[in-house]
Symmetry: C2
Subunit: 136 residues, 2 copies
Amino acid sequence: MKLDDDIRAFLDAPRGADLATINPDGSPQLSVIWYARRGDEVVVNTTAQRVKARNMDRDARVALLVGDPKRYVRLDGDARVVATGAEALADIRAHAVRYDGEESAARLTRAVWSTQDRVTYSIAVRRVYRYGFEES
Amino acid sequence: MKLDDDIRAFLDAPRGADLATINPDGSPQLSVIWYARRGDEVVVNTTAQRVKARNMDRDARVALLVGDPKRYVRLDGDARVVATGAEALADIRAHAVRYDGEESAARLTRAVWSTQDRVTYSIAVRRVYRYGFEES
């Protein structure tokens, strides 16, 4: 679906976000995660071995809550792999620049991420719930 | 399970929290919620009609993420109803005092909550994941 302009602008600030996925036993899994908007979708990046990655590979349905208790957006959607290898490494580096700056991104890319099996997922949004926005 | 002292102290500050429950179709549901620690459990309060309440009544498994991206605690557990009626109304009022102060709590209790069918759930914790804490 198409995201409204104010939702796009809200997502474009590097905000705290929690991602919910579904465990193999059907219970909920929650993680703190960085994200970035890409058109009308939102991308997240993790390692292929993490529980949330394996969960999304098995059941694409996710929920992402972005913001803080006073003002937030919840996106319900479906996640699919859009990058692996060098491209996914570039994605996590770009997320780190966005959230923590160039120096931290360079350091973590070198020390941690370059040896990992990174994966980028893009979330196609099915539903948007907003809270704390001005009425328009 | 028994919560460590530093986890108890962390939960005792009124922090932002996201609650994940499971929808009837097996997809994840995410909500921003107030909570309070009660012994080794954590209580949350909502209305009986809300999706998250109906979800917890059907499938007790929840995940609660408390804090911010720099320092947070994730609790995986099972939710059960521990109060309804006047007792549950007193609980949401106490949460509001904790988060927003006495004046806001009194106003919202009068204007909103007193006409609702409130329910308090207590979450028995199965697992704790912590991030950003000092090594002890």
